[in-house]
Symmetry: C2
Subunit: 316 residues, 2 copies
């Protein structure tokens, strides 16, 4: 579908329930709330389905848009949801009955009756901005804040390689509405929880450098998690942290799940070492630059096994 | 001066020496190199004066633009330099004879014969982009990379509150030229030196939380610096690190300079505590949200004295 066709379809709907994805991020949440406010501006009834996995960090964006228990939707629309499997539990009744999906994942499975997909968009927020504009919705400051948050969180605040000139252009237009971008930026990019800081501090204290510092191993152990009372929230995306180290091409994060079982995440530069080839040796897989697997053994044993596998892939 | 007048003046010049500021950052370096390439595109001879303080991180941007020892300039132009005092040693011969200054600091002292100043610009890079465009220079990919680097580094990659819609719009136009923005972003925003990581790790390990976690004290001790062989480069802007901690309104970084002398940096939210009032009690000063002073004593003594002063300012 085109943006224009998507806008026409939305124009014809009412009593809309908007669905976000499992373990929702800023993009899916910002898109859902912005679409909800936009449809309401056109006089329609719209609500966002509560998502049981949502992180407290996103609470402010849900204000006034969460569907009450007695809402009787006519249709369901999903945003930033690539597959049925990515729908949260709460969306189960709608799983096979989604009228429209708006998404920027190239891997979108086409599970909805109608799909608008644009893999060139850095964030689904870019697409919702275009759809709302096409619908004739005035992008007010509250709507712009939601769309900006969606785009900023999905691009690491315009740092990641998915950022395009169009991303900046849309951000510029959104900021013109005068919402408090600084509040969003501070909330998502200038704050770390105490536990997260402590985890990162220990990763650095305990890490091992190999291959002249170009390969690093970091460890998240059961002892550490117990001692710091760290939650999954505190550990989110922890495997990207150690790769920030200067001079490191390849970074392994060893997460101990049981005393003798470790989940491995390997991030590489995608050139000197193919991460998925290494992880395939342990029954895992992924992409050339990011892959994962499970190794049975203690963190020290997992490290030894990974180092061995990496060297074999490098030399042969 | 206006952008148009500045462009006319530049159009009339040749044999141009371009000056950067002391302890040069990405903005002054990117502006100088971009202006140099732009003037050369117009058939002029232009060079950037080597800056003895420049960090190795910026080496790539100086390639091909550093003035040879035998260059005989007719005029000097400074970029992003707010005052004569901010010129590096190497610029001393030109100190009182600068024809044009292009700068975005509201505090610019007007030391040059002609000054173009725009305090609303997030980075001087925004201004140079406009001046070059006015001059009819084609913004090629190499020029755009330099201008993007200038803008991105001065805004923390579009995170800081100086970022405006215009900043994003200029970034979009620059990125359209197709330079490798990812290379710039990775170099400046996705890398930390080993020593920097180790310093941050220890700050977290050794910090003290007071006032229910809303006030934090972090310590950079002589022992730590010696042990890690940390340099000034490794410690740059370290006083902003601990303020990232969630829930912290006020952050004190205690830097031990001698066994019994500490430099204090206090960052606050600017509302609940006036940083300059606290530091004034020790003969220091600054702004409501960021101030500094020196306290004679060990780090532990400095902490006790600061805690006392903060409580007095809070309650009196």
């Amino acid at each position: 579908m085109t943006v224009q066709e998507t806008a026409s379809l939305l124009q014809s709907l009412d009593q809309v329930l908007i669905l976000t994805h499992k373990r929702p991020d800023g993009d899916t949440i910002g898109c859902a709330a912005a679409l909800c406010l936009g449809l309401r501006q056109l006089g329609k009834t719209a609500w966002v389905l509560p998502n049981e996995d949502a992180h407290g960090l996103f609470d402010p964006y849900f204000q006034g848009v969460l569907a009450p228990a007695d809402f009787q939707p006519q249709v369901a629309v999903s945003v930033d949801v690539a597959s049925q499997g990515m729908l949260p539990e709460s969306a189960a009744p709608w799983k096979d009955n989604i009228l429209l999906c708006i998404d920027h994942h190239g891997s979108n499975e086409g599970y909805a009756q109608h799909t608008l997909v644009d893999p060139a968009a850095a964030a689904c927020g870019e697409m919702i901005t275009k759809v709302l504009t096409q619908l004739g919705v005035t992008i007010t400051a509250p709507i712009a804040l939601l769309l900006y948050m969606a785009i900023a969180t999905d691009t690491g605040c315009f740092v990641y390689s998915n950022t395009t000139p169009e991303t900046h252009r849309i951000a510029a237009n959104l900021m013109e509405t005068g919402f408090d971008a600084q509040w969003v930026n501070k909330r998502h990019f200038r704050v770390k929880s105490l536990k997260r800081m402590q985890i990162e501090s220990r990763l650095v204290r305990d890490m091992d450098l190999e291959q002249d510092g170009s390969l690093v191993f970091a460890y998240v152990t059961l002892d550490m998690i117990r001692e710091l009372q760290a939650t999954e929230e505190d550990l989110e995306d922890i495997s990207s942290f150690i790769g920030l180290l200067e001079g490191v091409d390849n970074a392994v994060t060893v997460r101990q799940l049981k005393p003798e079982e470790c989940k491995i995440s390997l991030r590489t530069d995608g050139k000197s070492l193919n991460a998925s080839l290494v992880c395939a040796r342990f029954g895992g897989g992924g992409h050339p630059a990011a892959a994962g697997c499970t190794i049975h053994g203690t963190p020290a044993q997992a490290k030894a096994a990974m180092l061995d596998a990496i060297e074999q892939v490098q030399h042969g």
